[in-house]
Symmetry: C2
Subunit: 213 residues, 2 copies
């Protein structure tokens, strides 16, 4: 994968026991998380085949934490709206409750138990790793890896202290997209666009955006 | 207003007779429209007070067309999620069905009948007017008006022929954000960020982002 996102979700009920009619409330800001997933993986009428999104649901103690991984090249049933995206994630969480191993709950979407700290640590050593956070180096001035990125975002709350410490102790660059405090989904749009423009300038072959399945 | 958006909505039922549970289907892509409104007017935990969004609902013949205008400085009850944003717009459309004049259906949100062509024509003469469309001049190379912009987007379909003709015959610049065909909400994020960065470089006073009401 050339573009990877790791989203830290701190309030979504890990067992998927929330209603789709109150995503911004009882679902622990699943609305913003669904927007993040959606805008990371889709363009107009298509999917970003080179993008992978991992979500760590760390609202509960580690034994209950879950990881969802979605691959743009394989994912199906991902519609652009918040509600259906949230439904896809909710169904995965519900399916995973009684599972001790990863399961592919829908094509291109794998869910399973996770040690969030170990997973974050592993992600920080990926090529092109960066931490999107206010007060960092300006994105447009960040040289980065021309091959892509592995970007950590915390949504919608700040990282918890243990995550913050891992992030600070790693040597990955802290990157900021602009002077305002933006929503995570907005930050994702800006990071993708910066790399779209860099690839176009570098004369990369036409980016692969597949029609939505 | 320093930043203005005009969104052309072609399929949303103008009388507001749609369910909030199927925004991407029967509601004529109200999901994308709600995302556009939301991402145009909000940042993390706040509103863009300098931004105004106008939506032209032109799915029906002109006598039924409706305009909704929302001011970032005055709007209330605008939550970040798609469903509640769509509910705010739907309630406005429903309230307006039997009205022959503008009404403020909620604080900072005015709805009323409109002649879409005349409204679009008027908007095209605003300072900083531009048309966000594929194949235009690169946004980052567009000199523009330092005072802001008045941006036309069509969502999610292309402009209808009459609108397209008005846009082409006007002398406003056609601006493109990057090499890929993006969703309208993504385009809005990129335009805002470009002007956020320009204002920061110009040493403008701290941008006004008010806490959400």
């Amino acid at each position: 994968m050339r573009r990877r996102f790791l989203l830290l979700a701190h309030r979504v009920p890990v067992a998927g026991n929330f209603t789709l009619n109150d995503l911004a409330g009882g679902a622990g800001r699943m609305d913003e998380l669904a927007r993040c997933v959606s805008t990371a993986l889709t363009v107009s009428n298509g999917l970003r085949r080179d993008t992978e999104v991992t979500v760590l649901f760390v609202a509960e103690p580690p034994p209950k934490a879950r990881r969802i991984r979605m691959e743009g090249a394989r994912v199906r049933y991902l519609n652009p709206d918040e509600r259906s995206t949230a439904a896809l994630l909710k169904n995965a969480l519900v399916r995973s409750v009684s599972q001790e191993h990863d399961v592919e709950s829908s094509p291109g979407l794998v869910v399973g138990p996770v040690d969030p700290a170990a997973e974050l640590q592993r992600f920080l050593s990926e090529p092109g790793a960066l931490w999107l956070s206010e007060g960092g180096t300006a994105l447009r001035e960040h040289v980065g890896d021309p091959g892509g990125f592995a970007a950590v975002l915390s949504d919608p709350l700040d990282p918890i202290p243990a995550e913050e410490e891992l992030l600070r102790r790693s040597s990955i660059p802290r990157i900021s997209v602009g002077p305002l405090s933006l929503r995570s989904s907005q930050v994702i749009d800006l990071l993708h666009n910066e790399f779209d423009l860099r690839e176009a300038r570098a004369g990369a072959p036409e980016r692969s955006a597949a029609p939505a399945p």
